[in-house]
């Protein structure tokens, strides 16, 4: 998968490149809007990550021009402007998704995965990892043949973690996607932490092998073993 990053802030660009390369993406970086425009026109990418505040040529302008020329590649915009108007404007200009700075890296990965997956049918009825199985239709959770009772929120959180299995999930992602809270100022971290602790008590505590891990300072991940 080839990803183009258009970002003028060198540190952020390097972090994005390193992070995405660690996830086995093939990454090109453009430092200005013009360079980004040139690269998109001469090479083919599966996804463009576009910063809006670019020197000389504004990100939105680049995007509008590209879309007018019929570019189909999904574009994810990064912006420090987060008012509703800015978001609407960005999406109207042809962006497929947006992420407000400062963003959590796991969230960027999740968004990129979602954009690359787009168009493919999502008809998963059962999720499974290791000896943990979740039936999305009957809402039954079974681990090592043992049936577990989860509350609604615990179930939704487990489902979300299973859909991102192996990838770190940030608190912001949980707040937005599981609790559906859009206002980022809502005090929700305690609620999330408590729910994670309770979920862990049910799906991990009675078992030898731990699946739900906390990545300090970043979020949570569901995977077998520490690695």
């Amino acid at each position: 998968m080839r990803v183009l990053i258009v970002e003028d802030e060198k540190k952020v660009a390097k972090a994005l490149r390193d992070g995405l390369e660690a996830e086995h993406y093939d990454v090109r970086v453009a430092g200005t809007g013009e360079e980004g425009f040139f690269l998109v026109n001469h090479e083919s990418f599966d996804l463009v990550v576009l910063d809006l505040m670019l020197p000389r040529r504004d990100g939105l302008e680049v995007l509008t021009t590209l879309r007018k020329r019929g570019l189909q590649t999904p574009v994810l915009i990064l912006t420090a402007r987060d008012t509703v108007d800015d978001r609407v404007h960005g999406l109207d200009s042809g962006a497929d998704d947006y992420l407000v700075k400062p963003f959590a890296f796991p969230e960027l990965l999740a968004r990129i995965r979602a954009l690359l997956r787009r168009g493919r049918p999502d008809q998963i009825l059962k999720l499974q990892h290791d000896d943990l199985a979740v039936d999305l239709v009957t809402r039954k959770v079974v681990r090592a043949g043992q049936s577990l009772e989860l509350t609604v929120k615990e179930f939704e959180m487990l489902e979300y973690l299973l859909r991102h299995v192996g990838h770190v999930v940030s608190r912001e992602m949980l707040a937005r996607d599981v609790w559906r809270v859009t206002a980022r100022a809502t005090p929700l971290d305690n609620v999330i932490d408590v729910t994670v602790a309770r979920l862990r008590r049910k799906i991990d505590d009675p078992f030898e092998k731990k699946l739900l891990h906390t990545v300090r300072g970043v979020g949570f991940v569901l995977r077998s073993g520490r690695g």
């Binding site: 609620v191 300090r216 300072g217």
Partner: protein, 428 residues
């Protein structure tokens, strides 16, 4: 420029003097006309009298007309009978520079004309005119001088106020304008300006406190990040050790991010850039959903969290913003109520017909000295407790904004050691 827009003092004086001059002019002309009319009428009466005497002499003793002329002295006259002059005083008709006033009596047989010198009368009028004409400029001069002086006296409080106001800046807002007489217009003006200054001073003071608090709150995670990073660099750590350090730094980044988000929401909200989208909502339902949202937190502390709602209560407000406010109030209650405490959320209609959501806890309570400032940004009852409980002191400020932007108010009833009651009151 000064000429085009003269000072208030000059304008007051000129107006004053102008009106006075006009009044005096009208008055003088009136006097002149009146006196003139009176004098001429007197003269005319004398002439009529003369004519009557001449007439009498003419009828009784025509030959005595000469003697009459001699006795009457100043009066000159002529008696004409059927076209011939019967008698006329020497030098008739009077001519030359001396002005005369004439009177005539006539019937079918004869005609008598008499004339009297009117020099004295004219002189009297002239003297009166001169007196008035010299008095007028003097009066106007006095009016200008006195008016200018008086206007200056009257306006001196304004000058004093301007003098003081010029010295007032953001740094010296404690100064107040002098109030000489609190009853008159200038005194009232000064009081209004002083009230405005008081409010400004308070606003500036809040801003100063806010800036100091905000920089403190921002510096704390920055300091933590910096020291954790610097210390880690000086030591040689293993892989998990570095993970620990980076994780610890990311936690601070998280704290910083949350702080900036909350501040941004609050600042935007308070400056009116988050306009509420009002709709009729069921408050009971909203309160129940918020309670369910935060129930896990209460359960962890083994607190009893109950919702107490009778009939369905509705109000017109922005559900998302109000929800944010209520979450903050309830989160606060759970945070400051010890384990096994009780928190009650009630939704009801007040006696005055408003909708109220009450959050009552059996927590630490808030002493009355803090009631006034508890809703200010970064204000904390106990400064030391903030770090462990994780709040930045923005929760209640956010709650207040969220309620007020919906046209409501938030009230606090609390006694230290006995718990608190936060009441969100919304118009229906």
């Amino acid at each position: 420029m000064r000429f085009l827009a003269p000072s208030v003092r000059v304008r007051l004086t000129l107006w004053h003097a102008g009106v006075l001059a006009l009044v005096i002019c009208i008055f003088s002309v009136g006097i002149l006309l009146f006196v003139r009319a009176r004098l001429f009428r007197g003269l005319d009466e004398q002439i009529s009298h003369d004519l009557a005497t001449i007439e009498k002499v003419y009828h009784e003793e025509t030959g005595d007309l000469g003697e009459l002329a001699h006795r009457m002295g100043i009066t000159r006259f002529q008696v004409v009978e059927g076209g011939t002059v019967l008698y006329q005083t020497p030098g008739w008709p009077p001519a030359g520079t001396t002005p005369y006033r004439f009177g005539t009596f006539a019937d079918a047989s004869h005609r008598i004309t008499a004339a009297r010198d009117e020099t004295a009368l004219r002189q009297t009028l002239w003297s009166l005119g001169v007196i008035l004409a010299t008095g007028l400029p003097c009066a106007i001069g006095l009016a200008i001088g006195g008016g200018y002086f008086l206007a200056g006296r009257m306006l001196s409080p304004v000058r004093a106020m301007a003098e003081t106001a010029r010295k007032i800046t953001a740094e010296s807002l404690a100064e107040r304008l002098p109030v000489e007489n609190s009853q008159d217009e200038f005194g009232q003006l000064a009081r209004v300006v002083n009230d405005t200054l008081s409010r400004l001073e308070e606003a500036f003071e809040q801003l100063r406190r806010f800036t100091a608090d905000a920089s403190h709150e921002l510096r704390t995670p920055l300091t933590a990040m910096r020291s954790v990073g610097e210390v880690a660099l000086q030591r040689s750590l293993s892989g998990p050790g570095y993970r620990e350090v980076i994780g610890s730094m990311l936690e601070e980044v998280d704290r910083l991010t949350r702080l900036v988000e909350s501040l941004l929401t609050l600042t935007r909200g308070e400056s009116g850039r988050i306009p509420p989208t009002l709709e009729m909502i069921n408050l009971t339902g909203l309160a129940a959903s918020v309670v369910e949202h935060l129930r896990v937190l209460a359960e962890e502390k083994e607190q009893s969290l109950t919702i107490d709602a009778g009939a369905e209560v509705s109000a017109t407000c922005d559900p998302a913003i109000l929800r944010l406010g209520l979450i903050n109030v309830l989160d606060n209650a759970i945070k400051y109520t010890p384990g096994r405490g009780t928190i009650r959320v009630g939704v009801r209609e007040t006696s005055s017909g408003e909708a109220a959501i009450e959050v009552e806890d059996t927590g630490l309570g808030i002493s009355a000295v803090h009631h006034g400032r508890i809703f200010e940004r970064f204000y904390r009852v106990d400064r030391g407790r903030s770090r462990e409980s994780g709040g930045a002191g923005l929760g209640l400020a956010t709650a207040r904004w969220a309620v007020e932007v919906n046209g409501g108010r938030i009230e606090l009833e609390s006694e230290e050691g006995k718990g608190s009651l936060f009441r969100i009151v919304l118009p229906k």
